[in-house]
Amino acid sequence: MNICVISNSHAASLKNGWETIGERFPNIDITFFAAPNRGMSGVKFDVESRAYKTRNHSVRKVLAMTSGGYGRIDIDSYNAFLVYGLFLDIPKLDLRLSEAVKSVTLDDCVARSLNFRFVKELAENTCSPVFYAASPVPASKTDDLSSAVKNHHSYREVSSWVEARYAHIRASIIKQSDDTLDENECSKMVFTVGSKRLKFGKEESHSELDFKHMNGVFGAQFLESAVPRIRSQYASGVAEI
């Protein structure tokens, strides 16, 4: 089974994690297509060739580097898709915000993310299962967890509101697991230690002040729960056929 992961810099965590757990999934291949920053915004779907392509040489180069040689994404080559990160964030929403503010914030979060664009296009143009996941919640910048979480909606709650905005699309969300979150519902600091930049083949760590990018341990934990789900949905689809 071939899983295609489309992402941005957050792919580094998944890639590093997959390197440690891939052996446990002998029949699964994962191909990563990722470009840092907003590089993926120029990667457009070409209906005729049924592929995602870019005219930007450097983005094509980084896609080839992350995927192991492919400068374009031929969607028929994969059995399932995971769109990971790509500026889809689960915002912290204060409980005292009005419903209108919360609603319009989440509308903007989803509609303006590259994640939504890719998920929508994939769901419309392929019969394969499509999964999506938001960028990991940034880690807390402080060790002081005394300030309670009570003023914010829970990660689960906000994720479900984000999910509702994808409801009309044939795609499933994969949420960040609870045990990666601390009491303040930030990612645990342990998952940011030694996180690597999206430079495959080059070992370069993110700054110690980077609270947004997770390490391979996080990626491994995420994929350990995501891959069986993806495999299972793919298998049930095949069985139906």
């Binding site: 419903e99 503010v101 989440l106 979060c109």
Partner: protein
């Protein structure tokens, strides 16, 4: 007595060129008039600055942010909210979502509520099943879905408002109006009930034109309260150059505007002369005075064009440079007005007063 070197005939002889109309204004291109403000203290980029006040104050925060000054936004825009919607919901307009604070007594009211010196009244305005905050009626375009939601939202704002003045090195307040609407229970509204929402009741709602003494008193009280938790804060006052949309004073709106702005200008002058704590920046004069011949106003002769706003703010930073970086005069380049902040039109300014114009039939025609 024979005249000799070092002997002056009169005190004016020793004054610099900025003290004489002819040399400072009359023979100078308007855009090259300089030195209108001599700041008392230096403003550094690391200083925390809170901004509040009348509509015109909205430009100050944006200009500070654009120039990478530490403009406080204590009520943060929710992560992911687009700039357009943030503006619609009044995020990033002032240092917290108080909406426009037009008068000194409204400022005092907010400060007292934030410090729990007094409690906000329980009044809520309901319109078509939506609930509006009488003290910031335009804060959400469609109001709130319940009274409780409105109160919780205000609680968040009061926390943020308190944080802003508790931590600010500089508290900027733009005085806008002397005219206001008071409830018989003693509290003030930023807008007359019945305009944006609410219901006007002549037995309960009374017009008040605040006097010089009352405004001085209210500002002093506000600042005294602020200093109970932030003794080092400095206050920068400005006066909005935007004329009144309407007056209830019984006078012509033009003379009412002149009287109102004159009072506010006098208040700012009195406070900045009397205390080192206060300073006054003359944005009002820069827009309204005769050398500029009204060029900074839009066709309605009321709202200020983006070029005017930019000129005001450029003057602010030029004056700061002249005083503290020993720049003799601003260069011609810096005096030229540039694009408005973020290229935004002045239409973005949130001004409830504009809504009053909607009730003026002749204005609609």
């Amino acid at each position: 007595v024979p005249l000799g070197i070092g002997i002056v005939m009169n005190p004016y002889e020793s004054l610099g060129e900025n003290s004489f109309w002819a040399t400072a204004v009359g023979r100078v291109e308007p855009l090259n008039i300089y030195g209108l403000w001599e700041p008392k203290r230096r403003l550094l980029r690391r200083h925390k600055i809170a901004t509040y006040g009348s509509c015109f104050a909205q430009h100050i925060g944006r200009a500070l942010q654009k120039r990478k000054y530490n403009w406080m936004q204590c009520e943060e825009t929710p992560h992911g909210l687009s700039a357009e919607n943030a503006s619609n919901y009044n995020y990033g307009i002032y240092s917290s979502r108080t909406g426009n604070i037009y008068t000194a007594s409204l400022l005092l009211q907010w400060v007292e509520w934030a410090l729990k010196v007094s409690v906000p009244p329980e009044e809520v305005w309901e319109k078509n099943g939506r609930y509006f905050d009488p003290f910031r009626p335009n804060i959400e375009p469609d109001g709130f879905m319940s009274e409780n939601e409105m109160l919780r939202s205000r609680e968040l704002t009061l926390e943020a408002f308190k944080q802003s003045f508790a931590e600010a090195n500089l508290f900027v307040f733009t005085l806008g109006l002397t005219e206001g609407w008071i409830n018989t229970e003693g509290y003030e509204y930023p807008m007359c009930p019945g305009t944006v929402a609410g219901e006007y009741n002549k037995e309960v709602h009374h017009f008040k034109n605040h006097t010089f003494r009352e405004i001085i008193r209210d500002i002093r009280r506000s600042v005294a309260l602020i200093r109970t938790i932030n003794p080092k804060v400095r206050i920068l006052l400005t006066v909005s150059p935007v004329p009144l949309t309407a007056t209830m004073s019984g006078n012509h709106v033009l003379t009412a505007t002149t009287e109102s702005k004159s009072v506010l200008r006098a208040v700012a002058g009195e406070l900045s002369r009397s205390k080192i704590l206060f300073d006054y920046f003359p944005s009002y004069e820069i827009i309204t005075s005769s050398p500029f011949q009204g060029v900074f106003y839009n066709e309605n002769k009321r709202t200020v064009r983006p070029e005017g706003v930019d000129f005001v703010m450029q003057s602010f930073f030029d004056c700061m440079d002249m005083k503290f970086k020993t720049q003799a005069k601003p260069t011609a380049r810096t005096r030229k007005t540039s694009q408005s902040d973020n290229g935004r039109s002045n239409d973005y300014v949130v001004c409830e007063e504009e809504l009053l114009a909607a009730f003026n039939v002749s204005d609609k025609q």
